[in-house]
Amino acid sequence: MISRKNKKKQENNPFYDPSLKRRHSSAKRFKKFTLTSLIFSIAFLAFFLFDIIGKGIPAFNITYVKVEVNYSEAAVKDYRKAVDRKYRNIISRAWLRELPLIIKDNPSLLNTKKTQWVLADDQVDQYIKGHHYRLKRKDRALIDDMKAHDLVELKFNSIFFTQGDSKTPEYAGLYSAMVGSILTLIITMLVAFPIGVMTAIYLEEFADDNKFTRFIEVNINNLAAIPSILFGLLGLAIFINLFGMPRSSPLVGGLTLALMTLPIIIVSSRAALRAVPDSIRQAGYGLGLTKIEVTRDHVLPLAFPGVLTGSIIGLAQAMGETAPLIIIGMIAFIPDAPGMVTDAATVMPAQLFTWAGMPEKMYIEKTAAGIMVLLSVLISLNALAIYLRKKFEVKW
């Protein structure tokens, strides 16, 4: 900086540029602008995580009320008769609906009475958590009274992890979507991993630089840039309409996602193969190995950590993908977890999409909690990829 003392000196300096001060401050402004934009990105990320976690945390607990349950004959016929009339509005209907089944599985319960913790209705839950609620005055008074007698409690929401989707928000869980995601991703990786790695081996180790090879490369580059929703149109037109595969199934979803994941696996595998030094190959040839032997026994094992890292990143990306799966119908209402890859199923992000569009307020916190689960899985996968890369990285 130019101090006042030096100012006179500078005016006598033949090299002194009077615009220098302006130029320096302009340079400073520019630096400030770039820093601000970076800070904006990071601040957004922080605010976003803060917002989602703030909305999602309450969903990990859910309200239970302690009432007397009457396991009577009448309750088997009409589940609503299992509890006193005054409690009917504050108890989860979905929970009561399970009662006849519980009695059927466990006949010794019949004709007994038990005071136990029972899942509360979603509006009661929202009231207890201090969110927006809709309760009749009578029911609110009842809850306030029960709360004063310690008959209302927030407990860990295990339903969220053990149940499928439900039309009653307090009984809706992520379980069937998780199973759907796992089945879909198994199909995806079974298809994309071998094809991707084989393509990479062909392009890196075997292919000559000719028109055919360049055409494949152009296609892979384009595939990576095609909007994901168009892969959904492909799945709909080819897998479902042409091949007649079952709609909404993990099979179709997995195949569609596999085609999307392919370019990611190919590009990262090629980079890993390219990083293996040529001396390894030359040494193999020198010992009389054929090209396939060199690739299979020496180049591929050395490149494998890199291949694996790329595949995990591809897997993480496929896991968060929603748009193509909506097109092939994986947003159906699925209360039960799919048992087979041909059953109708939904996946985690598609389940979150469905919940986000529901009118009941409780689905908002469920969606945010689901996002927390999804993001934790994605972050773990990426951390695993980074760990593998660090652990097995070989500097040649």
């Binding site: 770039t34 990071i42 989602i52 062909y202 929703i229 168009l230 968060g320 999409f353």
Partner: protein, 309 residues
């Protein structure tokens, strides 16, 4: 490179088979591209046999599902255009600014921390951005607009545009960062030697040199914004609307595709097939953008002889 073949006949056959399998796998990438193109093209042709192509690209009324339904896609293109412009207005300055800071100002250690943070933004699933746009950003915009005496809808183009812009920041910053760093250092040193300030070196020397790469990154961002689905499905409107007002609701190509396919129409009805016509437009536009982007990067690489991009 010279090849070595075994004298053993059995091994030779086996190796030929493996090579054949490898080639087959590589062809799948080609098949997929053509699969997408033809599956969309055939259904789109079927649509244009039922409805006029000319009205599709110039008509201003989109009213499926009613008697006398009309399929003029101009309002849908207009909505896509407005939301995409908003997204790019957010993403290009911020993405480029971040890239310049990371490549020119930050120390290598700081950069090692900053880059993964920006990449987290790229790893967040779009459905999560959509939820954030619909639940947090859109109500905020309504409230903020009310302060200025303006009226905004809960599915305003601004909400989805801004969130989409944030989603694209890493696309632009990551590629621009690589490009800026591969501008040869001799250029910077020569500029310093002429007495330029750091800011002038970046603005007058480095950025113009990196411009093909920056344009390429922006085109990739543009193509990503055009094809983005979840954010607009969750936060933008369904109403075909030609307007410049970002506080109004408008719809996009991707939203219309999703809505025509999850509806209860028969597969061979023009309502469903219109999704493929829109898909064809999306495919062609993103393909062209991607081609231009790739050729710009290739030219940049040839000019500065870098292989790391």
């Amino acid at each position: 490179m010279s090849t070595f073949e075994s004298k053993n006949k059995k091994t030779q056959v086996y190796e030929q088979l493996i090579k054949l399998a490898l080639i087959t796998a590589s062809v799948i990438a080609i098949l997929t591209t053509f699969g997408i193109l033809f599956s969309i093209l055939f259904e789109a042709i079927e649509f244009f046999q039922m409805r006029s192509f000319w009205y599709f690209i110039t008509g201003t009324e989109w009213s499926p599902g009613v008697t006398g339904s009309k399929f003029g896609a101009v309002p849908i293109f207009a909505g896509t255009f407005v939301i995409t412009i908003i997204a790019l207005l957010v993403a290009i300055p911020i993405g480029l600014g971040s890239a310049v800071y990371m490549s020119e100002y930050a120390s290598p250690r700081l950069r090692d921390y900053l880059k993964p943070i920006l990449e987290v933004l790229a790893g967040i699933p779009t459905v999560v951005y959509g939820f954030f746009a619909a639940i947090t950003v859109a109500p905020f915009i309504v409230k903020a607009a009310a302060v200025f005496g303006l009226e905004a809808t809960f599915n305003s183009a601004l909400a989805s545009g801004v969130v989409m812009g944030i989603m694209i920041i890493p696309v632009i910053s990551s590629l621009s960062d690589d490009v800026i760093r591969s501008v040869p250092d001799s250029q910077r040193k020569a500029a310093y030697g002429l007495g330029m300030t750091h800011g002038e070196v970046i603005k007058n020397i480095v950025l113009p040199s990196a411009m093909p790469g920056i344009i390429s990154a922006s085109l990739l961002g543009l193509s990503k914004a055009l094809g983005e689905t979840m954010i607009v499905v969750m936060a933008a409107g369904l109403r075909p609307n030609i307007s410049w007002n970002p506080l109004e609701d408008m719809t996009t190509v991707t939203v219309t595709i999703v809505n025509s396919l999850v509806g209860d129409f028969e597969f061979n009805s023009p309502e469903t097939l219109s999704a493929f016509a829109l898909g064809l437009v999306l495919f062609v536009v993103t393909l062209i953008l991607n081609m231009i982007s790739l050729s710009l990067i290739r030219k940049f690489k040839e000019k500065y002889k870098v292989n790391t991009l």
